[in-house]
Symmetry: C2
Subunit: 159 residues, 2 copies
DNA sequence: CAGAACATGTTCCATTTGGAACAATACTGC
DNA sequence: GCAGTATTGTTCCAAATGGAACATGTTCTG
């Protein structure tokens, strides 16, 4: 086996060279969690990303509109619209017209949907554990505080 | 205007309720950086995600194979293959056969490609700055150390 | 060395995605 | 109240995506 640069470049050197250092790291870590998780969710439960995001949102709010889900997940409205129709068809969510606004509909999760969400959340929780394994308790506490601050700030951007 | 839950639910409440707390936060922050950035990159420079990721990798290594880029970016090989062909066609990268291995090709960035990368990196750097704005210097230092540790660990997973 | 197993990159094709136009409803300013 | 504007959700269509099979080349095993 040859040992020149092409054969085995150090593929982590970019961590120190990239122009947007922390954005690159954050994105890399996100991919390490989500790519294998979403592969497993599609394989084991047959849900695509927008469908699971919809279920996730509804699992944590009593009622939401499709617009709310689109805003929370930063996905286009039509992707959410399709996910709503598929999740309705398989009985994981329910929809009722909003008496106060004829444009919107009130979406809620069903017991079946909640059961599925619980199983899927476990996939993500387990993968999170694997990726976060090197951090000790105080590091986790510190990271959590920093991420919370950033996430809350990010939620105010692009209204 | 009505003030019931559907009208204006607090869309950040999920931050505290979600089963994979830090994974959710990290993913949310990543989206807040990358979604607007990639929209701008497509609009202003006409590059899709795999194409820019290819350019980004080649901007930081003298030579890489398509396989290396796929591994670094966790994208399927065929997406990278397509990106290589398009970036070759527009002159942002070059390709040479690897004399040591007939299956691989050595990819390098061209001066034009590097110029474009510099412009695109600035888009991402600026958006990173916006999202990270609430952190002070010591918080940034702490976050950087934690993210580095996680990213290096993640790079060893799923070899 | 021959054959099997593996690695790399490409093509094919079905699925997923998202922009744009649209229909229906609600809001705004006069 | 009415005309114009904005919002919500849907449909249409073109583009992006990724799994699987394939072609070519390399490595392993006996």
């Amino acid at each position: 086996m040859s040992t020149d640069a092409l054969a085995n470049p150090d593929l982590t050197a970019i961590f120190d060279a990239v122009e947007f250092r922390d954005a690159y790291r954050i994105s890399y870590i996100t991919n390490a969690i989500l790519v294998p998780s979403y592969d497993a969710i599609k394989r084991d439960f047959g849900l695509i990303r927008a469908e699971y995001l919809l279920l996730l949102c509804l699992a944590h709010y009593p009622v939401l509109s499709a617009k709310d889900v689109a805003k929370m997940t930063r996905r286009p409205r039509n992707s959410i619209s399709r996910a709503v129709h598929r999740m309705l068809a398989v009985g994981y969510i329910q929809r009722a017209p909003d008496p106060d606004d004829g444009r919107q509909a009130k979406l809620t999760i069903t017991p079946d949907g909640r059961t599925l969400h619980t199983q899927i959340a476990e996939v993500l929780r387990a993968r999170q554990q694997t990726v976060f394994e090197p951090l000790n308790d105080s590091e986790r506490t510190a990271l959590d505080a920093l991420l919370t601050k950033l996430a809350v700030h990010a939620s105010t951007l692009d209204t």
